[in-house]
């Protein structure tokens, strides 16, 4: 029972899966489920401990700042739980969705993604963070091209091109940090960052913003995202929106709050968040493909999260993480539903969805449900997080972002409701006899129930957000635990 399992177990499984594939194809499908179930159990049972007092795990016996450490604090506890639970639901969905061979490759890469994401969240070492980023990215590139079609390869190549830029800049930043203060431990860097000359520090900050901003889908850096989201198989879209981006944003925010926690940087984040949000929502408005629309919506939501982090007060960080949680659930639900809608209609076009509501009532219902939830309508969970973000942003005196967020919400409502209307009210189409498999429905059902429950009892999640927010904001505690555990 230690946080190392979050990284070691899925990594082990990832390498085991191709071997097992030689023996039994069915086993390949089941193993990731067992792994994720175990990890979910682990994350839930470790949760109270981590929230109470951060667990600092020392790898290979070298004490920090020399060895690599894992830092399992409240925010890591929260994010690992989120990743493993959403991962489990995605597995459930994939079970019948990924029928194209070779399935073992899919599950191997999926496990790598989980490894990378939990690694990003857990690690206390900046180079280690880079490595996990690369693991995640490489798995993500390959998964984007998993369907082996023309567009998948194109999207994957763009993703790879921009992703390599990200890793280059991030690595450069690490190199410069190391050249100046000779340490890679995050906590140690945080305590020594002031020793670096100002100009260099600015350069480091910019490199990190670019490097991690690419994965966090900040505006001018997110050209890869719509393509990758829309061309990857639907569960992978859910992985991107629900897991990978969350880990990326977390790492960006962790580094900024540890090393560059100043008002100007935070203002910059708010501005970037607003730009990201508005441009993404506006671009989503006239999309013709449903998954591309979802991708833009996802980018927009990340903009919202960045705004909330950028405000940088305790309530706003709490709201940001609540929004991350909700978005992970709701966007996964939408990708799931969209996956089967695309499958049933046989086309990625939104116009092909006409009348599917009659034909595929349950899947359509889930999509409609998700659409209402992501717009932020009560009584779904999205309502509370949006409300909290707005309240906290306004509390910081930033009325302009509040208005812009709401304008973007209206745009969001328009394009989502257009799709919902199409599903239910346009002409009835010829029937597609294939049915949505039970595992897919169960996966969507779980998400729906959680969204509803959290919508009625937001405290269930919010309760844990306060320690998490403090974890992110309290630099001194991080240094203290990270270095001297």
């Amino acid at each position: 029972m230690s946080p190392v399992h979050f990284i070691a177990v899925p990594l082990f499984a990832a390498f085991l899966i191709p071997l097992i594939g030689k023996v039994s194809k069915e086993l390949v499908k089941i193993i990731p489920g067992i792994v994720l179930l175990y990890l979910s159990y682990l994350s839930i049972s470790l949760f109270p401990i981590g929230v109470n007092r951060p667990i600092v795990e020392i790898i290979a016996g070298f004490n920090p700042p020399f060895g690599i450490t894992l830092y399992y604090g409240p925010i890591a506890a929260f994010l690992t739980t989120l990743i493993t639970l959403v991962g489990f639901v995605i597995w459930l969905y994939s079970y019948k969705f990924i029928i194209r061979e070779p399935t073992e490759k899919y599950y191997m890469l999926f496990m790598m993604l989980i490894t990378g994401s939990t690694g990003i969240v857990l690690t206390g070492d900046i180079f280690n963070l880079f490595v996990f980023f690369e693991i995640t990215s490489i798995a993500a590139y390959s998964l984007t091209a998993f369907l082996r079609d023309r567009d998948g390869a194109e999207a994957a190549f763009k993703y790879l091109l921009i992703g390599s830029f990200a890793s280059t800049f991030f690595l450069l930043a690490i190199a410069i940090i190391y050249a100046n203060i000779h340490t890679l431990n995050l906590a140690d860097i945080a305590s020594k960052i002031k020793d670096i000359p100002l100009t260099t520090r600015l350069f480091i900050l910019i490199l990190i913003i670019i490097g991690l901003g690419i994965e966090s889908e900040m505006f001018p850096l997110n050209g890869w995202a719509p393509d990758a989201y829309s061309q990857a198989p639907s569960p992978v879209g859910a992985v991107f929106g629900g897991i990978v981006v969350k880990a990326a944003i977390y790492s960006l925010m962790r580094i900024i709050f540890l090393m560059f926690h100043t008002a100007d940087v935070l203002h910059f984040l708010v501005v970037m968040g607003v730009i990201t949000l508005l441009i993404a929502e506006m671009s989503a408005m006239k999309q013709q493909q449903i998954k591309r629309m979802l991708a833009f919506s996802s980018i927009g939501q990340m903009g919202l999260v960045i705004i909330a982090f950028g405000v940088g007060t305790e309530p706003s960080v709490r709201a940001a993480m609540f929004q991350m949680f909700n978005h992970a659930l709701i966007k996964s639900l939408l990708f799931f539903a969209a996956g089967y809608l695309v499958f049933h209609s046989g086309s990625k076009k939104i116009s092909a969805l006409d009348g599917l509501g009659h034909d595929k009532p349950i899947t359509s219902f889930f999509f409609a449900f998700g659409a209402l939830a992501i717009i932020g309508l009560p009584p779904f969970s999205g309502f509370w997080s949006k409300l909290y973000i707005l309240l906290s942003v306004a509390d910081a005196g930033l009325m302009v972002p509040v208005v812009l967020i709401l304008i973007s919400s209206i745009i969001e409502a328009v394009y989502y409701l257009r799709v919902v209307s199409r599903l239910y009210f346009y002409k009835e189409e010829a029937t597609d006899v294939r049915r949505t498999p039970v595992s897919g429905l169960v996966a969507m059902g779980i998400l729906t129930v959680v969204i509803l429950i959290v919508g009625f009892y937001p405290n269930l999640i919010l309760h844990w957000m306060t320690p998490a927010a403090n974890d992110l904001l309290d630099k001194a505690a991080y240094i203290k635990f990270g270095l001297f555990h």
């Binding site: 190549f157 763009k158 091109l161 921009i162 830029f165 800049f169 100002l198 520090r201 600015l202 350069f203 900050l205 910019i206 490199l207 913003i209 670019i210 690419i214 001018p220 850096l221 890869w224 393509d227 560059f260 100043t262 100007d264 940087v265 910059f268 506006m282 671009s283 408005m285 006239k286 999309q287 209402l372 309508l377 009560p378 009584p379 309502f383 509370w384 409300l387 909290y388 707005l390 309240l391 306004a394 509390d395 005196g397 009325m399 509040v402 208005v403 709401l406 919400s409 209206i410 409502a413 328009v414 409701l417 209307s421 199409r422 009210f425 346009y426 009625f456 937001p458 405290n459 919010l462």
Partner: protein, 616 residues
């Protein structure tokens, strides 16, 4: 659990259940919906005497639901109307599909409304406000493909309204750290004047959208027209009253504390006046009965807003009185139109005519409805309108009196057209086997008709709770004596005899005319008209209802032509076009994206100190 909890619980669980039951046991679905609304009605009445209060901690907020006289007034209105419309829906909707969807959203909308009226804090108010909005949106788009753009328009306007509410709420929260109504009200005078004004404006805007004040009314005609009739009755009767509910609350609990209250009042009153006048003009030239009623609804809400804005005890009383009456008579009219639609399949006034003897009860309902609208004794509209005029004159708003009077007179035109086209005139062959609507549709209509009659004769029945709720709004000591209407004739009882006399005369004259009229009726086809030598084409619609008010229409054509709707559509289209261009930044070329990255990098490096400051 106390009554309020029961109400909300039953309605929302009931909504979910009807959807499930629809798929499992379709027969029980309608019964369940009726049962839910009946239970609601019971508990709403129970809540009045119980004086319930619920405090619920959700997230970081205290959600407070409480009964106050003002809340009760609206809650009873919703409950009664909700019950009657659901009763009405049972037969009306029987031939439609997706009834689970219909009833679920209907009950969600109802639940949302209960939540709104009982909430004593802005979080739960907004929470339920949004539930009501999306539920009603889903009902607006229920019917067909044509409803989609209309529904979207409704939702966008609702969202603009809801979000201006939300901005105000968020501002209030950042100003006082609290969203409980009582707290905010007592703190409101501490805010700076500009903040007070912004908050009040935003709140009024938010509530105003729902009550369709001009120029934010454009969603209303379409949405009323296209939604299924039972819901239209509730929509226009109760849902739009949520706006009135909020405006009343904002005006007298918040705005009244501000130094600029009198300006707010004047502006709002004039907006109401213009709304009333223009909507009436638009109503006159509608050829569809439901559209006509929709515009009429907008106009009537204009009166109510005038009454609230003027802010004298008499005017508020008249506004609240009109609120209740409007709920009743607009529901009646929509139900009657719905009954016609149920039997004929259309609400086009150019094609339906002469249904008086086929559908006598619907006719009676429609007749009572239009009498109430036009404010002719003996029905309730008379007293309410009188009080409005009187309060306007008392408070020296002479121009507004002229506006209101003009609108009221013009209203006769469309009311006459409405009843004449649908029910009077000649019977057409096409509608020969039309029958009266089923019993369950007729009963709610007759109940409401009886209600407006009783209220017309005994206005005190309604004015008592109204004066109580006015005391809650802000120590308005309202008694009937302030009105000339009640002064002249001393008290309520005398009023009754006066009204009775007028009513009796009215009825007798009416009966004489109808009986005499019957004998002289010559049955001819509607197409049997003299055309001065021109032979009418087969496809020409020569029903007398066509071009009913042609000359008048020509006279005020300039006003009608300047459609604010077109401006909004233009804005929306241009915006969408702009968004469409914007997404061209995603060129699809990976290298361009890489270029963006490098460009952004160099930009940040160039302006590093400017952006991130030197105190990093």
């Amino acid at each position: 659990m106390n009554s309020i909890e029961y109400i909300l619980f039953i309605t929302f669980i009931g909504a979910g259940l009807t959807f499930i039951v629809h798929h499992a046991l379709p027969k029980l679905r309608d019964t369940l919906a009726i049962l839910v609304s009946a239970l609601d009605l019971y508990f709403v009445i129970q809540a009045i005497s119980e004086k319930s209060k619920v405090v619920l901690s959700i997230a970081d907020f205290h959600l407070i639901w409480k009964t106050t006289p003002y809340n009760n007034l609206f809650a009873v209105l919703i409950a009664v109307l909700g019950f009657l419309t659901i009763l009405y829906a049972h037969d009306f909707m029987s031939s439609k599909d997706r009834l689970g969807y219909f009833y679920m959203n209907f009950l969600f909308a109802l639940g949302g409304m209960y939540g709104i009226v009982y909430s004593q804090d802005f979080i739960s108010l907004f929470f339920f406000w949004e539930i009501m909005t999306w539920a009603s949106f889903l009902l607006v788009i229920y019917c067909c493909k044509d409803a989609q753009p209309i529904g979207l328009k409704y939702f966008v306007f609702s969202a603009i309204g809801a979000y201006s509410l939300l901005i105000a709420i968020v501002m209030l929260y950042s100003l006082s750290g609290n969203l409980e109504l009582t707290n905010l009200i007592s703190n409101f005078s501490n805010f700076s004047v500009s903040n007070q004004l912004i908050v009040v404006t935003l709140l009024l805007l938010g509530f105003g959208v729902k009550s369709a004040i001009m120029p934010l009314h454009v969603w209303a005609p379409g949405a009323y027209f296209i939604s299924p009739s039972p819901f239209t009755a509730l929509f226009s009767g109760a849902l739009s009253k949520m706006g009135i509910f909020g405006i009343g609350l904002v005006l007298f609990k918040f705005a009244a504390q501000s130094g600029y209250f009198s300006y707010v009042q004047i502006i709002l009153a004039w907006i109401g006046g213009i709304t009333a006048l223009l909507a009436t003009f638009y109503a006159i030239f509608q050829t569809d009965a439901k559209k006509l009623l929709a515009y009429s609804s907008i106009g009537q809400l204009g009166y109510i807003i005038i009454g609230l804005a003027i802010g004298t005890p008499l005017s508020i009383a008249s506004a609240l009185f009109l609120t209740i009456l409007h709920a009743a008579f607009k529901a009646m009219l929509f139900m009657a139109t719905g009954a016609v639609y149920f039997r004929t399949g259309t609400t086009d006034m150019n094609s339906v005519s002469g249904l008086i003897r086929k559908m006598p009860f619907s006719f009676i309902t429609a007749l009572f409805g239009i009498i109430t609208v036009s404010g002719v004794p003996p029905l309730g509209g008379f007293a309410a309108k009188w009080m409005l005029y009187e309060s306007l004159i008392q408070s020296r708003h002479y121009f507004l009196v002229i506006v209101v009077f003009a609108a009221s007179t013009a209203a006769f035109l469309y009311l006459y057209r409405f009843i004449f086209s649908l029910f009077l005139g000649q019977e057409e062959k096409e509608w020969e086997d039309v029958k009266e609507a089923p019993l369950l549709m007729v009963i709610p209509m007759l109940i409401l008709s009886a209600f407006v009659l009783v209220v017309g004769v005994f206005p005190g029945l309604i004015l008592d709770p109204i004066s109580q709720s006015m005391n809650y709004l802000g120590n308005f000591n309202f008694n009937y004596e302030t009105s000339v209407l009640f002064n002249e004739w001393g008290n309520q009882v005398d009023m009754q005899t006066v009204v009775n006399t007028i009513g009796a005369v009215f009825l007798i004259v009416g009966l004489i005319i109808t009986f005499k009229g019957f004998k002289k009726t010559r049955y001819v086809s509607t197409k049997d008209i003299h055309t001065s030598g021109e032979i009418p084409q087969e496809n020409e619609n020569l029903t007398y209802a066509v071009d009913f008010y042609k000359p008048f229409e020509r006279a005020i054509a300039p006003i009608l032509k300047s459609s604010i709707d077109k401006i909004y559509t233009g804005i929306a289209n241009n915006l969408e076009q702009a968004f469409d261009y914007l997404r061209y930044v995603y060129t699809g070329n990976g290298q361009t994206y890489a270029m963006y990255v490098v460009f952004f990098l160099s930009l940040l490096i160039l302006f590093a100190e400017l952006i991130f400051g030197i105190n990093l």
